[in-house]
Symmetry: C2
Subunit: 435 residues, 2 copies
């Protein structure tokens, strides 16, 4: 039975070194996105609600203050997803950390767990969310469910089960309770309801785990039984999703965003970077035309030809290429300002970019061709699914955090999450989150 296997996994699994290191880096990136999101309107609303409700200060809020674990998980989940800059997993059609990490952090603070225990619980929760995302399948997402939130709630509750040391029975009850409340619709995309979905998933996981720890009962068949969550929510019920659970860690293929724009543009920006090579700004002056080719899915998603606002710029192949050629850091939020969207020099550069689509490419792939002054050409292709060396990932995540938070705070955060050999320091980590 799926539910029993997941509960066993949550109780007994030990993430291997590579999975743990990926989770540690993801914790760092999650925090960087969260701190950068603390200035958003959705953050202000949720923080105000939490600070007004008050209560036992078990867990930290991003931006400062404390709240009961369930509320902290909701607030932090929503804030960390507010910029949509957090990590994703291509197998799972969803964001990996944003429901799981806030739940794990809040319960780690509540229970006084070690940084190593937090890391293990987060890795277990994230792995379970990815596996459940696969188990639910693409049809679940296509039907209208926000997989980040639905699969994420199960990851959150299993991370909670680990930290609260639930026994097998309690773990099953927790999973059943989560099954009866996991939710989240794509129909709220484009509103603050989207980041809130992630926060609700985290909060549901926390509350289900806490209530199960107190003895509240539910059937674990509510996940995968005849009229369980999967069956009622258009899930495929693909049990091969669990193959190798506990031995193989799919989160090792977790994917981080290195550009503050729509994910559909990232492969093109990476390919552009490779085509430019070390030349960077110097070569840009010599670029006469750029030809970008991507998967046709992105044509209706992020191909705004003449963006007039910063928001539109985040969905424009031509604008992000122009930004890169002009030497703007596409990892930085302020590269997507209204001012730069209307900048005449960038508009002129945009005019030299042509965008095409090729169904032979995968959704994670793009090709870029450069025509340089003097007649030389350069080509490069990139696949976001291509593994990234750990050293490269560390350097790029650090650079992203610096672009978001400045060098000092990014450095403090880097210290707080430790290293491959040193576990995160939860107290320091929370202090950096508080700001």
């Amino acid at each position: 039975m799926l539910a029993e296997r997941l509960v066993d996994f949550a109780r007994q699994a030990t993430p291997g070194g590579e999975a743990r290191e990926m989770m540690r880096l993801s914790l760092f990136d999650w925090a960087a996105c969260a701190i950068a999101g603390a200035g958003t309107e959705v953050a202000a609303i949720l923080r105000a609600q939490a600070l007004e409700e008050a209560g036992r200060g078990e867990a930290s809020l991003i931006g400062g203050g404390r709240a009961p674990a369930r509320m902290a998980a909701m607030v932090n989940g929503a804030i960390s997803h507010a910029l949509d800059y957090d990590d994703t997993h291509f197998a799972h059609i969803g964001h990996t950390s944003v429901a799981v990490v806030p739940a794990a952090l809040a319960l780690a603070e509540r229970t006084g767990a070690s940084g190593a225990a937090l890391l293990d619980a987060a890795a277990i929760g994230a792995e379970a969310a990815v596996r459940l995302g696969l188990w639910l399948g693409r049809g679940h997402y296509q039907a209208g469910f926000h997989q980040t939130a639905t699969a994420g709630a199960f990851g959150a509750v299993l991370a909670g089960a680990r930290l609260l040391e639930l026994d097998a029975g309690q773990g099953g009850h927790a999973l059943g309770l989560a099954a009866s409340r996991a939710s989240g619709l794509k129909a709220v995309f484009g509103t603050m309801g989207k980041p809130l979905n992630a926060g609700i998933a985290a909060a549901n996981g926390v509350e289900a785990a806490l209530l199960a720890a107190r003895g509240l009962s539910a059937h674990m068949a509510a996940l995968d039984g005849a009229q369980g969550f999967g069956a009622t929510h258009h899930g495929a019920g693909d049990l091969t999703a669990l193959d190798g659970l506990g031995a193989r860690w799919l989160i090792e293929a977790n994917s981080h965003k290195f550009h503050a724009c729509c994910h559909g543009l990232h492969a093109a920006l990476e390919a552009l970077g490779e085509a430019l090579g070390d030349a960077r700004g110097d070569a840009a002056g010599a670029v006469e035309t750029v030809e970008v080719t991507a998967h046709p899915r992105w044509e209706t998603v992020c191909n705004v030809a003449e963006p007039a606002t910063g928001l539109e710029a985040k969905f424009s192949f031509r604008q992000v290429v122009a930004l890169r050629l002009a030497g703007h850091d596409t990892a930085a939020l302020d590269s997507f300002s209204d001012r730069l969207a209307r900048d005449p020099a960038l508009a002129r550069m945009r005019a030299r970019v042509r965008v095409g689509f090729d169904p032979a490419l995968g959704e994670t792939e793009a090709r870029v061709g450069l025509q340089l002054a003097g007649g030389a050409t350069r080509q490069a292709a990139y696949d976001l699914a291509r593994p990234m060396a750990a050293q490269t990932r560390r350097a790029r995540l650090r650079a992203k955090a610096e672009a978001l938070l400045g060098a000092e705070r990014a450095g403090a955060l880097w210290q707080a999450v430790g290293s491959a050999d040193i576990a995160p320091d939860i107290a320091t980590f929370s202090r950096v989150l508080a700001g």
Copy 2:
């Protein structure tokens, strides 16, 4: 658009005298069931969680103590559904008050609303829940959703929108937020997860309304749009469900439970009462055999022939008839004890009861035939859908409350909810709930 009409309804409707009186009586009955449920295990668990989290004491908890509105709604929703003795609505395949009233009460206490405003908001929320239950249709329930909780969450959020005086935009956001988190599976029936579903619905309504009041946004199409709640949750989308909304109040046909057992047994108990007439206990000695006929649906639901426990007795035609003939009050919880289930005199009486099923009867109907000593016979039939005179309802609800709470507390509760002309007194009402 459905959502716009519901928001308009929540903002502008005025329940008529009959609807308001039904809601007042339902408030009384809800409170009686809630106070009687305060001794259950699920109540103890939720109260402990709420009292530990603490926070701003905006609203009363059943059994004493205060909590933020969202938490109070969750705790009180679950406690009031713990005995499954609360009201139902046959159109809606769900319980009418248990998600809506806790939300309305918590927000009325938070805002300092009048008793009249509480009554209006509860009536509006309950009416909306019934209408949305009809809009979702039987297929939603059959697929596996716990309509009390799903439709109930929308009723709760609209009651909240009324009390928080949300404008049309905020009301739409609140409804959209509720659509992205309304939940509840029948797969947890038979566990504490069932009453918790009602509490979560109430809590979701409160939180969605509070966050929308602070400016959190969502699309109201998340309820009834292309990939909204209805479309994703096997809803029929039957817009005739809204016919006459605001003019005609379906809650006037609300149904209260007068026996502390499965609803499938109630029509038979009512028919038995009519067949016995005024004779009551005296006639019982003269009853030789009883023949009960009900709709075949109930054969697999509540036809335990030889119950061995109090729980089984709640699902036994033969036992409830025997209890009634022996003069036990089937409205009282302790009539369904393990001891009485095993009582030899009742077992002998049970042996004189025959149960049959007839597909020509409706699910709310039953027939009873009595064979009396000396050869006389009596017949009676009852349909739970038959309207009940207001005077009869008042007397029976009061008697039920006395059976549950004792005369003194039932009397105090009766005072607190006022009369047809006097609005409920929220402070007194909350004091009685606290106990």
